[in-house]
């Protein structure tokens, strides 16, 4: 057959080495007669509809991208002890799982290997675990039930983890996030702070040395709370460290209570 040089016959097949068997039957085009109703060609009819869907998704996606700046926190600082680590949202359920007593400590294997192994192994081997011919979810209650339960567990774990993280973030004085700036550094109270023993433990810029950082402390304590801590001490802090007058003490506490920067960003999610 092969040598046909007039260029009109497009059916010529140059198979070359004829040890490769030339197949005459068409590769696939499956017979869809088993499906009732209308079928249509993939190109262009069906693909057009697929792409219409893609257009809708793209517009929504780009709206999301334009509306939300991708977060970028402060440069990694291994010595930052106040940072609340949290994995990306799709690992949260695993993260939460490891907080259970029976899945941590001596039983950590349950949390890191057994449960995820069962989950992912089960998914991987699903076709062999559920060998029945029936495809409708209602007609195979066991596999549907297990799937729904695991799904529910994942959703609940993710939600609990997220909720817990939010609560922790809220209760933590924001000073530990590096975004917090000193509020009103021009206030005379800052001078009072620097002239007292406070500065030795809490740092020149409230950043915390032996003592904790005081940045954003206004989120956690009121003026009265702070006065009380100054008077009575807290943790390692002894009572009566403040050497100034009562008037100055009041001023200092009021200034510290204002340390709740409103421009605090979502850098810690």
């Amino acid at each position: 057959m092969a040598h046909n040089h007039d260029g009109k016959d497009k059916q010529v097949h140059f198979v070359g080495d004829s040890r490769v068997a030339r197949r005459n039957e068409k590769m696939v085009p499956k017979d869809y007669s088993e499906f009732p109703g209308k079928t249509e060609a993939f190109f262009p009819n069906f693909l057009l509809k697929e792409w219409m869907v893609a257009v809708v998704v793209l517009v929504g996606f780009m709206a999301l991208v334009m509306a939300h700046e991708p977060p970028l926190g402060e440069q990694a600082d291994p010595t930052n002890t106040g940072f609340l680590p949290v994995p990306d949202w799709y690992f949260l359920f695993l993260y939460e799982l490891l907080k259970f007593k029976w899945a941590s400590g001596p039983f950590v294997v349950i949390g890191t290997v057994v449960v995820p192994g069962l989950l992912f192994g089960g998914l991987l081997l699903a076709p062999w675990l559920d060998r029945g011919k029936e495809r409708r979810p209602v007609k195979r209650p066991v596999s549907t039930g297990i799937a729904l339960l695991s799904l529910l567990a994942i959703v609940v774990l993710t939600w609990v983890a997220w909720d817990e993280h939010e609560k922790q973030l809220a209760s933590q004085p924001k000073g530990d996030s590096e975004d917090a700036k000193i509020v009103h550094p021009e206030d005379p109270a800052y001078e009072i702070y620097k002239n007292n023993a406070c500065v030795n433990c809490h740092g020149q810029k409230l950043e915390g040395l032996q003592g904790p950082s005081l940045r954003g402390i206004g989120d956690a304590y009121t003026t009265e709370d702070i006065l009380k801590i100054i008077n009575e001490g807290k943790g390692q802090m002894p009572a009566g460290m403040f050497q100034g007058t009562e008037e100055e003490k009041r001023q200092l506490a009021e200034w510290l209570a204002n340390q709740d920067p409103p421009e605090e960003k979502e850098s810690q999610q």
């Binding site: 696939v28 085009p29 499956k30 869809y32 190109f43 793209l58 700046e69 977060p71 950590v108 495809r135």
Partner: protein, 223 residues
């Protein structure tokens, strides 16, 4: 001109049957959202692919500015996001696209599971799909470290500690991921290599196999 070039190629390579096979195969009604709106659940696979294409493209463009080095990684991300035109958009596409692709992939998996499409004869394609799922999670995990901000750093630290608690192979696995004695320069270089070369290569190979099998076996019938 184009036609002549096409025919020249076709005579030598016989490419017509290849695309004809793809273009002309009949798509059944039950997966076509134009016939039944509920058939949109069959779109999630295609949409996952679409988002993955966006991920690959935006990732390629991001590496034009990004440097995988602990001194410069954060600075370069900060620079490309804030100083370069559309930097925020391109990084945003990659950042949010990662989440969106996981969502789409998850919905696609649910569709396949609840329509029982993983059953005979499509068991193998389900396995490939699950491997794709793991690859995507791996891409998410390795990509999270790259901007080298506090969130990235501490999340990775936790991740590596979890890996270390796996019995027998745990410490070896953690050392492999970490590269050095701390989560640091060597970890970043390694995660970059995994995120940009190894995992995408696996992803592309698996996707090729996934699509080939879909074409070979056809889509599963209506319920």
């Amino acid at each position: 001109m184009l036609k002549a070039a096409y025919e020249w190629l076709d005579k030598r390579l016989d490419i017509t049957p290849m695309w004809r096979d793809i273009a002309d195969h009949e798509v059944p009604e039950h997966v076509n959202p134009a016939h039944h709106f509920s058939a949109f659940i069959y779109c999630f696979g295609g949409l996952t692919f679409f988002i993955v294409v966006i991920q690959i493209l935006s990732g390629m463009f991001l590496t034009m500015y990004y440097v995988p080095d602990i001194e410069n990684a954060w600075k370069s991300v900060d620079y490309l996001q804030n100083e370069i035109a559309f930097g925020q958009i391109v990084r945003g596409m990659h950042h949010w696209g990662a989440s969106v692709s996981i969502v789409m992939l998850f919905l696609h998996t649910l569709r396949v599971f609840f329509t029982g499409s993983y059953k005979h004869p499509r068991e193998f394609n389900w396995v490939i799909g699950m491997l794709l799922f793991f690859t995507m999670l791996g891409l998410g995990f390795t990509g999270y470290l790259l901007p080298w901000d506090n969130k990235a750093y501490f999340a990775t630290k936790v991740g590596i500690e979890i890996a270390a608690s796996v019995p027998v192979i745990g410490s070896a696995l953690a050392t492999f991921l970490q590269g050095g004695e701390v989560v640091g320069a060597q970890t970043l270089a390694r995660f970059f290599a995994l995120h940009v070369f190894f995992l995408p290569a696996a992803l592309l190979g698996l996707m090729g196999a996934h699509f080939f099998l879909i074409r070979k076996q056809g889509i599963s019938g209506p319920l």
